[in-house]
Symmetry: D2
Subunit: 339 residues, 4 copies
C-alpha cells in the first residue's frame, strides 16, 4: 500500500503514520518528495490488514492499494483461457456458443416452440427463467418448480443444455438438479451467500455483472466462487446503469475486453438486458462478437408483445434467424467456429 | 398506460396497436394529434399485463405507465407518517433517533466501550455487524453468531436496542432472535427472497437503498415487505454510486425529501456509508437532519485506524461527542426532540 | 404533451389544468382513467410553450412530451443516409474512413512522421490538436497557430485532409481556413455559441458527444448546426462518464446504432478518448465497426510514453499497423470498402 | 508520481521504467515489494511532464499522481476563507446571502415585481438570465441585450446587485458592463476560453460545477480564473447527473463540504437546478445551509406555470416567503447572519 501524506506534515505526524503502518503488519518505507512525503508499506496486502483505515488520520491525504485484490480469477494465476465444460458444450474455446430462449418460461408450448427454433439455428443452450426477480411484487414471479419441469422436458426433446436463474439459497439444490448452468442475475451479483451456495454444487455458474458493479468488484464476486473450489464461472456483461435513458442499460463492451485480459474466465454478453430494446439486439450481438465475447445470451419469444416479462427486449423467431445469418460473416472474420 | 405511436403511422398499424391494447385487457382510447397518434389504455395497471412489451412493435415509439407501481408504501394508501416501534423506541415521530456503533462487532471490549459512550451521548440504538458483506472473500467476514452474542450482552448492559445486518435467508431466524431491527444492506437491496424472509419475522426492517437503485425501485422493494404483512419498514438513504470519486458514494439528500413525500415510512440517513469518509460525517448529519430525516445510522469505533472493516468512514468517540453537540441547535431549530 | 394528474384530483383542479393547457396554446383532451385523469394536449410541441412548467401545479404528477424535439437531424426529415464530402473524401457512404494522428501537434517531425505512416496504412484524414482543452491550466495547451501551420504542411506533403479542434469562437475563422473538418470536443458539446459560429463556415463539423450528454441532447446540439444552414455534421461517440474507473470513459456502442437509426448523419467512433487506454483501442475499433460506425478517429503517436498530452491513450505505429490488419476481415464481413 | 509495475516484471523492464522516469524529469526511487515493484518519481508534478503516459508500457499497471493539481484555489495556498466583495455585498463571510430571481428575464413587469419581492424578503442579489443556453435551438433563447437593460433598471430601482449568465466570449465585455457577478453555467463549466475571458474583467464569477464534473476538475476550472489574476470566484454546486430520474440532477451536498475544505473560495448552492423541481427547493435550501453553504441561488417567478424557461423548477412569491421564514431558525442555529 502507498500512504500519501498531506503537504507540510510535521515530522512527528509522519512518525505516527510510520508506526501505525508497522503496527498493522507492514514494513514502512518513507519517501520524502519535494512537497509531500509518501510512505510505501511493504507486505502482502491480501494477508494483512488494509491500510485504508489510515485515511482517518488528518495528515493522510490518500491510501493507494498496490496489489490486485483477486487472485484465482486472475491471469497471473492462470495464463491460458479457461474452457468451461457444460455437459459436453465447451464455452471459452474456439467455438462461439449461443444461449437463447425466453425471458420467462410461460408454458410448454412457448418454451418448446422456442427451443426447437433456436436449436435449429445453432443455439446449444436454452435459457428460460423459472424464478424471476421482479422490481414489483405485483409482477409475474415465474412458474417456479413447474418451470423447471418444462425446462427438463425441453432438454429431453431438443438436447439443448439448460441455463436458468437461481434467486434463493434454498432453491440452489433443486435448481441445480434441473439446470446445466446456474445463472446469477444482476440484482444478486454481490449476494455472496447465494454465490457460495451455488459454488458448492460444482455446476457452471453464469455470473452477471451488477448494475453498478466495477470490473474489480465483479471479478472479486467470481473469486468468491473460485475460492470455494468451483472454477466453472462464466462472466456475463449485461449493461451498467448510467444517466442515459434511451436504453435500459449501457452495454459496456470495453469491459468484455478488460475482463478477458485480467481474467482467464470466459466472457458472455447479454445484449437483451444490455439495452432493454429488441431493436438493438442484433447490432449489439455483432459488437459483442467483435470485441471477443465467447458466447451470447439472447432473449427469444414466439410473441414478444404478449410476453409475461420484459417483452420489449425479446426478439421473435424471424429476427433471431436474421441475427444468426448476420453473425456468420463476422464469425468467419474473427476465426470463431459456430455449429 | 399511454402508447405513443411514431409520426406517420398508417391507419392499419394504428389499428393493430388498438387491438393489442384491447387483447391485453385495457380499454383503448386513441387520440389523434397533429403529427402523432397516442393511444391511452384505460385500466388498472397493477392488475393487467404491462403494455411496455408493445415497444417491440415498430410503429410504437414509447409506452408510458401512468400509475405508480407501489401501493401500500404510498401516501395515497396512508397519508399520516408511520411511526415504527422498536421495542419502545419510536422512529418516525417527533423524536429524532440516533443509531450508532461500530461497522463490525470485533470484540466485547470494542463493542461495550462504544455502546456505553454512544448511549451516554443520547443514542437509543446500537449498530454493529456480525455478518459482513465484503467485496473480497479474503476480507474479514464478521464474527457471526459470536457477534450476535456480544450484541445481546451490550443490550443487556446498556439497554440500547440492537440493529444488525442479515445477509442470508438461513440466518434470518437466529438474527431476528438477537436483533431489534434487521438491516438489509445495499448489496441485498433487491434480494427479494431475503426481504420476504425478513418480512415474516414481523421485526422492524431497515432497508437500505441499493447503490444504483432509483427511488421508485427502493419503494417497490419496501412494497415487497409490506405486501407480506410487515408494515415496519425504515427506509435508509446511504448514498448512490456516481462518477465522483472523492467520496465513496454520493449521498442523495433530495431522496430523503422525496421518499418522505411519496411514502409514509420513516427515513433514516447513513452518512458513514453515504460518503465513506470520517471527516464528512458530522456535516452530513447536519444536512440529513435539515432535510427531514427521522434518524441517523452512524459508524463509531474506539480506534478507527485499526478497525477490521471500513475504518476510513468510522468516527471516534470525540468526534461523535462533537457531532451530537453540533446537532443540538439544529434539532431545536427544526423542532425535533432528542433525548 | 401528456399531463398526468395525481389520483383523486378534484374536478375543479382538473379544470384548472385544462384551462392552463388551453391558455398555453394547446387543445386539451381529458381522459378519465380508473384511478387517474390524463390530459392529452394537442398541438405542435415545437411551436408552442412547453407544458413541463405545469409540473409546478400540485395536482400534476408528471408531464410527458410526445414529439421528438429534433427535426432536421431526424430520419423523419431525411430518410436516406447523409454522406458528407470532406474535400473529396466521402464519410457516411460505403467507404469506411480512418482519421488518425497525434492527440496534440507537437513538432513538425512528430506530425509528419505520423502523417506518412497513417496515410500509408490507409487513413484518409489526419487528426492533430493545435488548441487543446486541458483540465489544468498548467498543462500543455497546444501550439496554437504554429500547430495549424504544421497541419497545413502535413496536408501538402501527404494529401491527407485535416481535422483539428476549435475551442474558441474567436478562433473559428482561422481554424476553418486551415482545417477540412472542425472538431468540437466533449467539453464544448453544448457550447451552442461555438456550434453556431462553426456552422457559419459551412465546413464539415465533427461533433463529439458530451461526457454526460443524453443521445437526445447530442442530436439537439447537432440540430443547432443544421438549423443554421450547415448540414455537414459528423456525430462522434467518444465514451460517457460512468462510475467505472478502470477506463476513463465508457464507450457506448449502442449509442452508435441508436443515433444511426434516429438520424441520417454519419457516425464516427473515437476509441482513444472512449476508453483512455492504448491497450483497448484495437479491440474497440473492431466493435465500433461491427455496430455500424462510418469512420474512426484514432490517436497515434511516434512515442506515446513521451507525448505531451494523453500519452496513455495513444498507440504507436506498430499497433496502428496491427489495428488496420485486424480490421480488414471485419471490413470485408460487413461489406464496407476500405482503401 | 507513483508508478506501479505489474507482478513479475523482469529486471530489464523495471530498468526501462526507471530510465523513462528520469528522462521525463523526475528522480526515480524504486521500492521492491513482496510481489510488485513500485517506482516513486520525485519531482514537482506541476512543472514536469505527467508520467501518466507511462501507462502505455505493458509492464506498468498504473500511475498515481501524488500532488494536488490545483494550487491557487487550495487551502494550502490560502488557509483563511476568501470573502468576495460584490459591490458592497460580502459573500463567504459570516453573512448568509440570498440571490433570487427568475430563470429568464421575460419582461419589465416580471422582473421588477420579482425583484421587489425578493428584496423585501432579504435577498441581496437579483438573478435573471438574458442569454439562455437551451438544449433545443427552438426554445426561448433569452432577451439578450434588452434583458441586460431590464436588469440594470431593476438594480436602479431596488438596489439589488445583479448576477446573469454569460454564454459567449464575445458577450463578456457588455455583460460585465451590466452585471455585478458573471455566471458560468454547467454547460460551459469547462469552456476554458470563456473562463479566461471572464477572468480578465476582474468581476466576481460564479462558476457552476459541470453536470459530470469531478470536484477536482471543478477546482481546476476555478484555477484557470485565479491563475489569470482574478481571485473573485464563487463555486456553485448545482447537482450532478446520475441514473436517478425522479430529479433532474442529484444535488451533491457533500461536495459543498469537500470544496470548502479543499478550497478557500465561497460555496453557493443552486437548489433550483439542483433538483429541477419546485416542490423540493425549500427543503434543499435548508440542507444546503446546514452543510455550510455561504449563499443560495434560487429561481423565483411570479407565475412559474407560464414561465418561458424551466417553469417546473421555479417557485412563486408565496413559497419564497415560506422558504425564508423556514430558513431563519436554522440560520440562527448555525450562527449565520441574515439581513
Amino acid at each position: 500500500m502507498i500512504v500519501i501524506l498531506r503537504p507540510n506534515t510535521p515530522k512527528e505526524l509522519i512518525e505516527e503514520v510510520i508506526k501505525e503502518v508497522e503496527k498493522l503488519g507492514y514494513t514502512p518505507h518513507p519517501i520524502h518528495g519535494e512537497l509531500q512525503t509518501v510512505v510505501a508499506a511493504i507486505g502482502d496486502e491480501r494477508i494483512h490488514h488494509t491500510l485504508e483505515s489510515l485515511n482517518v488520520l488528518p495528515q493522510v491525504d490518500r491510501v493507494i492499494p498496490v496489489q490486485k485484490r483477486y487472485k484465482l480469477v486472475s491471469r497471473e494465476s492462470k495464463s491460458e483461457d479457461s474452457v468451461i465444460d457444460v455437459d459436453g458444450v465447451a464455452i471459452g474455446g474456439r467455438e462461439f456458443v449461443i444461449m437463447a430462449g425466453p425471458c420467462s418460461v410461460e408454458s410448454e408450448d412457448q418454451l418448446l416452440s422456442t427451443a426447437k427454433i433456436v436449436r435449429s439455428l445453432g443455439a446449444k443452450i436454452l435459457r428460460g427463467g423459472a424464478y424471476k426477480p421482479r422490481t414489483s411484487p405485483y409482477e409475474f414471479q415465474g412458474l417456479g418448480k413447474h418451470g423447471l419441469r418444462l425446462l427438463e422436458t425441453a432438454r429431453k426433446e431438443t438436447g439443448l443444455k439448460i441455463i436458468t436463474e437461481v434467486l434463493s439459497e434454498r432453491d440452489v439444490e433443486h435448481v441445480a438438479a434441473s439446470a446445466d448452468i446456474l445463472q446469477i442475475g444482476a440484482r444478486n451479483a454481490q449476494n455472496y451467500q447465494l454465490l457460495v451456495e451455488c459454488a458448492k454444487t460444482r455446476k457452471p455458474i453464469l455470473l452477471k455483472r451488477g448494475m453498478s458493479e466495477r470490473i474489480e468488484e465483479w471479478l472479486l464476486a467470481a473469486e468468491y466462487i473460485l475460492s470455494k473450489g468451483n472454477p466453472n464461472v462464466l462472466l456475463c456483461e449485461r449493461g451498467i446503469r448510467t444517466f442515459e435513458t434511451y436504453t435500459r442499460n449501457t452495454l459496456d463492451l470495453a469491459a468484455v475486453a478488460i475482463a478477458k485480459r485480467e481474467s482467464h474466465l470466459p466472457l458472455i454478453v447479454d445484449p437483451s438486458q444490455g439495452c432493454g430494446r429488441a431493436d438493438l439486439v442484433k447490432v449489439l450481438c455483432r459488437g459483442a462478437l467483435a470485441v471477443g465475447a465467447d458466447a451470447l445470451l439472447i432473449e427469444v419469444h414466439p410473441c414478444p408483445a404478449e410476453a409475461l416479462s420484459d417483452g420489449q427486449q425479446q426478439i421473435d423467431f424471424d429476427v433471431f434467424a436474421q441475427l444468426i445469418s448476420e453473425l456468420r460473416p463476422i464469425l468467419n472474420a474473427t476465426g470463431r467456429m459456430f455449429v
